[in-house]
């Protein structure tokens, strides 16, 4: 139980992991942005 709580606390304090998640999400949102741009350009004709 104590070991489990300690590993959860380690995960919560892992700054590299938090930044990693943000970077991955930003990359995907950039792809989504590019996709929406293509959709706008095509709809404009």
């Amino acid at each position: 139980m104590k070991k489990g709580l300690r590993s959860i606390a380690l995960v919560l304090r892992d700054t590299q992991m938090h930044l990693g998640i943000l970077v991955e999400a930003a990359f995907v949102l950039a792809l989504v942005g590019a996709g929406s741009l293509i959709c706008i350009l095509f709809s404009l004709g």
């Binding site: 995960v11 892992d14 590299q16 992991m17 930044l19 990693g20 998640i21 970077v23 991955e24 999400a25 990359f27 995907v28 949102l29 792809l31 989504v32 590019a34 996709g35 929406s36 293509i38 959709c39 706008i40 095509f42 709809s43 404009l44």
Partner: protein, 500 residues
């Protein structure tokens, strides 16, 4: 295994398969607890029976097969192949008992679809399925994304050398750490961290669109499980269309694209190597093919005036295409709209996207971005060689968790697997056509099962012929295990039969 299989070979395979079945039996504790907590007594009995069968079968096999012999590569491959078939039968028991399926073959189809993260379903009356059965459906696809062998390695297998051979048999040859057990735990850590983040985000989105807190939580959890594992299951028959929410759609896109990334890439980015996310050959290949196929699909859709504006084109056209390319199978349109509205060009783009798939060593299926990237680099290298004098030496490099030099063995291996995918894709298309399905629809559905995608053009239903269901089960299994384990299993069974 030298020559014909011996009793000791069967013992080893039985022992490891037994452990994997026990692992899947342990998983049934989750829907069982859900059924008890929600007062779904009938479902609780279904899961108790399933649990009993799983433990009895698994423990018997583990005891009968108990041996001190060390597994070889062939044992690992055959065990991976056999385990997937064995757990398909065991995990189908609660499905059959639920009364939501017309036959055991339909149950086996749904389990294989879940475990391989395909997402096609033959369930009846999905909108009125119990909470615990929905939990089981989504849990199967979540665990299948990580791999059932990875699950067994985390809890039940203690032999490191044998464990690694099983791990490779399940088409995950990426070792994040020297220890395969440490690798399995890191894969689970990444998935569980995203489980918290993804479920929370979808829960808030669910509240925002008007779901009750409890329903928003359950839907958030299930949609996360199926999005992250690029599975495509959903608790409602209308799939993601049910939510009618751009927010929900964008969140699911983020989750399934991130889920389609290589676990080694997640590990590198989470360890501080953040540039890897755009330098990696797989993400670069994914971005490139997604852009080209989006242009093609949008052109095809706009030529036929299928969608009136950019918002509809994004929410219907782009969503379906990303869902196909990541091999997720989430849909914001009805299946028949593909056949009736989309036209040949857009359908061609979706079929190609489904075959290309996501990243290697991820939850996704298809050829994989790594192989597309390697074959593209090999093509560039060959073209340069043709254009330069014969004595010139070319070294082609690519970035994949560090700079790598393109080798002949990598190109051969990538080409071989792509060819194998195309062979089974053609095979399932042919079976579909022989069953009376139009060519384009048969190819679409075949690409969907071969790439473990889950998008449907309307072919997959409980009414389709049994031979087509069995073919699709085979393609899902072979596509997920990337052929080596399947070929080893078929070879092992044939040599055992010849010995008799």
């Amino acid at each position: 295994v030298n020559g014909s299989p011996r009793a000791s070979d069967l013992q080893l395979i039985a022992a490891y398969t037994g452990k994997v079945i026990v692992g899947v039996g342990l998983l049934m504790l989750v829907p069982l607890a859900t059924a008890l907590a929600c007062g779904e007594w009938s479902s609780a009995i279904d899961f108790l029976i399933g649990l009993g069968i799983a433990f009895t079968t698994g423990c018997t096999l583990a005891l009968v097969g108990a041996t001190r012999a060390k597994p070889t590569w062939v044992h690992g491959m055959v065990t991976a192949g056999v385990s997937w078939l064995a757990v398909m039968a065991v995990a189908a028991v609660p499905y059959r008992l639920s009364g939501h399926y017309l036959s055991f073959l339909d149950c086996a189809f749904d389990v294989m679809s879940g475990f391989t993260t395909t997402g096609l379903t033959l369930i009846q009356d999905l909108d009125h399925v119990s909470i615990s059965l929905n939990m089981w459906r989504h849990l199967l696809t979540f665990v299948g994304g990580q791999g059932i062998i990875v699950l067994a390695l985390t809890f039940l297998v203690k032999d490191a050398a044998g464990g690694y051979k099983l791990y490779v048999g399940e088409a995950k040859d990426e070792r994040l750490f020297p220890s395969v057990f440490h690798t399995a735990r890191v894969i689970w850590k990444i998935s569980l961290v995203y489980l918290v983040v993804g479920t929370l985000a979808l829960w808030l989105a669910g509240l925002f669109i008007g779901l009750t807190p409890w329903r928003a939580l359950l839907h958030g959890l299930w949609i996360y499980m199926a999005a992250w594992s690029t599975g495509g299951f959903a608790p409602m028959s209308q799939n993601i269309l049910y939510y009618h929410s751009t927010l929900y759609e964008v969140l699911t896109i983020v989750l399934f694209v991130v889920g389609s990334f290589n676990f080694a890439l997640h590990h590198a980015v989470w360890s501080g190597n953040r540039k890897e996310v755009y330098r990696n050959i797989e993400t670069a290949s994914f971005a490139g093919t997604l852009t080209v196929l989006t242009l093609l699909a949008c052109w095809g859709l706009m030529k036929l005036h299928v969608y009136p504006d950019a918002a509809a084109l994004f929410r219907k056209g782009f969503y379906q295409l990303v869902s196909a390319h990541t091999t997720t199978g989430y849909m914001t349109i009805y299946a028949r709209q593909f056949a009736l509205e989309w036209g040949d060009v857009a359908l061609f783009a979706v079929i190609v996207a489904m075959l290309f798939g996501g990243s290697a060593c991820s939850t996704a299926g298809g050829f994989k971005g790594l192989r597309i990237g390697i074959l593209f680099k090999a093509l560039v290298q060959e073209t340069r060689r043709l254009l330069k004098p014969g004595s010139a030496v070319f070294v082609q490099r690519f970035h994949y968790l560090g700079e790598q030099t393109l080798g002949e063995a990598q190109v051969r291996s990538a080409a071989l697997i792509v060819v194998m995918y195309l062979v089974i894709f053609a095979f399932a298309t042919l079976v579909g056509v022989l069953c009376g399905i139009p060519m384009l629809a048969a190819a679409f559905e075949s690409a969907s099962v071969t790439g473990n995608v889950g998008l449907s053009i309307g072919v997959t239903s409980a009414a389709m012929p049994a031979v087509l269901k069995a073919t699709y089960i085979f393609n899902m299994w072979a596509g997920r295990l990337e052929f080596m384990a399947v070929l080893a299993t078929v070879g092992f069974v044939l040599s055992a039969a010849r010995r008799r």
